[in-house]
């Protein structure tokens, strides 16, 4: 029997898609620049069916790619032409919310926000909050180790997942992590989270829940210059304050948000800083005053304090929809995601502006200023033939982040998009060592192939010439 017939038999015809037009709707995720039509899409309804599908793939050497909501921005769910897509959108049950043990057990297709909604009656919530939290699924969050605006204080997915049931590349089902984080042995769960779907498919996740903070205070501080806003961020951190979130939007980004309805941002300010503090009321009140003072000292032109929860929601709605809102001011754009050490924010922004000028391309900036995670939005018009120039600029920006001692990606992942840039950040031995981990989980390389690691087919036959890592040049690290 052919593998496709086996899959139909294992899952039932109604859970398999083979029609070409239908398959095409799965050919890309949130990153539309890469499109590959899969040979088949399967929609299992249980972990057992996921395992059954993977076993068929393993037997026949068919590559498979797991897909959640398809909101990823690095092409992590890009299909493989001769392979299948395993959609987890029918695994959407919340199995348990356990307020006593402060955890919830959910299937991978549950959205990030729905976990918090389910926990809300108990005064609890799930802390990581990627901007797409109303859409993106916990399975995707586990694959990408998603962060979000509030990860400055609360950390990432990896800090909030206690256990996962996973289907390994040979179709066996196992459990990583456990009922307590204190477990003997290698932290396989920690390594699995953020592996971008290359080590297996998660079919159930146990997440940690936190008590909602007693107080939340949010402000938007306007600045006449981006540098002023950057200095204010440095000032806040230097004062020993750990805000729940510090976000910056530059003028172009604010214009995009303003083009969508209900924007609360000042349309003509050069930069706006969203600062949110949460925690016990007295602690928050004291530090909130201090933050305002620091903003003023660094030249803030206007400070707007969120009056109530609704007002705060408006501030966040604008911020979280910023990427998509850019669609209102530019026909096409690339979303970049790089990280620099916090102290080099002003420098990197200046250099991005200069590079954008040189390329004659507009770049809007929305980013998690508190942790140095930039999201430059490279605006261009496909119709005016700017695609290649814009793409080049976008790649240059990511590599600039590495040059300044940072990272290629803070949260969107490497995926298909940045695999070819990985040698800028890691040496051959680093990558080879990571591949040893991969081979332990997936010796045949069937699980989401072509992602994270550069391959000759993807990046050209000859890898780029060796260039010393910037940290190496700076004497921070040594290459032996």
């Amino acid at each position: 029997m052919s593998w496709s017939a086996e899959l139909v038999e294992a899952l039932g015809r109604e859970n398999v898609i083979t029609d070409p037009a239908r398959l095409r709707t799965y050919e890309c995720d949130g990153l539309t620049g890469y499109r590959v039509q899969p040979a088949m899409v399967v929609l299992p309804r249980s972990a057992g069916e996921v395992a059954a599908a993977v076993r068929v793939c393993a037997r026949h050497g068919v590559p498979f790619v797991a897909r959640g909501a398809g909101t990823g921005l690095s092409g992590g769910a890009l299909p493989v032409a001769d392979g299948i897509v395993i959609s987890l959108q029918r695994l959407r049950r919340i199995m348990e919310v356990d307020p006593v043990n402060l955890r919830a057990v959910v299937e991978p297709g549950v959205t990030n926000l729905d976990i918090s909604k389910a926990a809300a009656p108990y005064g609890l919530y799930y802390a990581p909050d990627p901007s797409s939290q109303q859409v993106c699924t916990i399975g995707g969050n586990v694959a990408e180790n998603s962060g979000g605006a509030h990860c400055l204080k609360y950390g990432f997915t990896v800090n909030h997942v206690l256990a996962a049931e996973v289907v390994l590349a040979d179709g066996t089902v196992t459990r990583l992590g456990g009922e307590s984080p204190q477990l003997p042995g290698y932290d396989l769960l920690g390594a699995f989270i953020g592996s971008e779907g290359t080590l297996g498919i998660v079919t159930q996740v146990t997440v940690r829940l936190l008590a909602k903070p007693a107080a939340i205070r949010t402000m938007v501080a306007d600045f006449a210059t981006v540098a002023g806003a950057g200095d204010a961020v440095t000032g806040i951190i230097a004062a020993g304050i750990v805000p729940a979130a510090v976000e910056m939007l530059d003028n172009l980004a604010i214009q995009a948000v303003a083009a969508s309805t209900e924007s609360v941002y000042t349309p003509d300010t050069a930069a706006a800083l969203v600062v949110e503090l949460d925690g016990p009321p007295d602690d928050v009140a004291e530090q909130f005053d201090e933050v305002q003072e620091i903003c003023r000292r660094n030249g803030s032109t206007k400070i707007m304090v969120a009056a109530d929860a609704e007002h705060r929601a408006l501030i966040w709605r604008g911020r979280k929809a910023a990427f998509a809102a850019v669609g209102r001011i530019s026909p096409n754009y690339f979303v970049q995601d790089g990280v620099v050490p916090r102290g080099r924010l002003a420098e990197v922004l200046g250099r991005i502006a200069a590079m954008a000028d040189d390329a004659g391309i507009r770049v809007a900036n929305v980013f998690h200023a508190g942790d140095g995670n930039l999201h430059p939005l490279v605006l261009y018009s496909e119709g005016e033939g700017q695609h290649d120039r814009a793409e080049h600029l976008s790649t240059q920006i990511a590599e600039l982040c590495v040059e300044l001692g940072g990272s290629l990606s803070g949260e969107h992942g490497i995926g298909a998009d940045k695999a070819c840039s990985m040698p800028r950040m890691f040496g051959q031995d680093d990558l080879a060592t990571m591949l040893r981990l991969r081979s332990a989980f997936d010796p045949d390389g069937l699980c989401n192939p072509g992602k994270v690691f550069p391959t000759p087919r993807l990046c050209g036959e000859r890898p780029g010439p060796y260039r010393p890592h910037p940290l190496e040049e700076a004497g921070v690290i040594e290459r032996l």
């Binding site: 307020p99 043990n101 108990y122 005064g123 962060g147 990896v158 800090n159 196992t174 459990r175 990583l176 456990g178 009922e179 307590s180 984080p181 204190q182 003997p184 042995g185 290698y186 932290d187 396989l188 920690g190 390594a191 008590a211 007693a214 230097a238 925690g279 016990p280 007295d282 602690d283 009140a285 620099v340 050490p341 942790d371 140095g372 001692g405 940072g406 990272s407 290629l408 990606s409 803070g410 949260e411 969107h412 490497i414 990985m422 950040m425 890691f426 040496g427 060592t433 990571m434 040893r436 981990l437 991969r438 081979s439 332990a440 989980f441 994270v452 940290l471 921070v476 690290i477 040594e478």
Partner: protein
Amino acid sequence: MSTVTTYRPSTLADLRDAMAESARAGERLAVAGAGTAVEWGGAPEHDAVLDTTAMSGLISYNPTDMTVAVQAGMPLRSLQETLAGNAQWVALDPALAAAGATVGGLVATADAGPVRHTFGASRDSVIGVTVVLADATVARSGGHVIKNVAGYDLAKLFHGSLGTLGVLAEVVLRLHPRPSATATLAVPCHAAAAFDLGGRLIHGSLEPVAVEWCGRVLLARFDGTAGGVEDRGRRAMALAGDGAEWLPGDDERAAAHWAAVADLVRGAEGDTVVRLGTAPDRTPSLAALVAREAAAHDVDAAMTSSPFAGAHTVRLRGGTASQHAAVVTALRAAAPAATVCRWTPGLRDQLPAWGEPPPAVAVLRAVKRAFDPNDRLGKGRFAPWF
């Protein structure tokens, strides 16, 4: 008596050379830092020791970025002293730090202290590592920024690896600001009441940074601004009721309470110390089991728990090795995720180094094979699992 070679590199290059040399010699290697966790799990068979304590330098520290890079042999205690100058710290307070435990050792043992309640274990503070594998391959993962998802996170893999995958050479850590005020709530109570009160402190959004139940006293530490800590103190005391004490930061009694936690975890010559992990709500039943088994086998048992992190340490004192073995066996039956960190003399002869293996043991074995195919590093540390 012993004829083992000792390598004591002081630089990454030395370390790599030492690994290459020992690989050529085909030696089985035991990796050691300060030796504070040398007994954890199985006793490795080895022909040579790789001592990391000469790799104790600060590589880079930029207070503005709130990150620090150190050589893995640096004692955590001295790192914290350096950071204190900028009112910063690594949010990690393992008991063994006072005994000189190194940063690399703490990662390799997946250790943590009471603030695990808020900040997790060492894995949650590590943002980058450089490791040297058994074949002398030098590999990095992570980096110098807090937020980074590029590539696999090898630091996680090495977390809890007990020297069996490679040698941690350099570690990059994220830092937190030191709070301006701190205070401790101390409430004498049994485990069930402690779990209940701890839950109320958490659900009441009082945000204790640590909740520990040790020696029949619930300890909750609160960090924050002076006004904030004071306010929470009032509310915590109201929740705690009679017998509760509020001990501001510099109170000697607070320090004594927390020192008792660390003392228990470290244990002393002749003790058996076991780390266990359970779901939070199993804390009271585990406490009852410990008391019952200790009484049944005539051993003096003490326990400290971070109930909401599901992390417990049990110390057995007095009695014979076989009495200890009986208690440990009972504990393993209740909580298979157990690590024996200190073995009373003779206990090793009575017990396998580990109990029931975790469900993913096949993957653990595959990882071990991929990183150290010749089983040179820490051979037997995870026996009988692999």
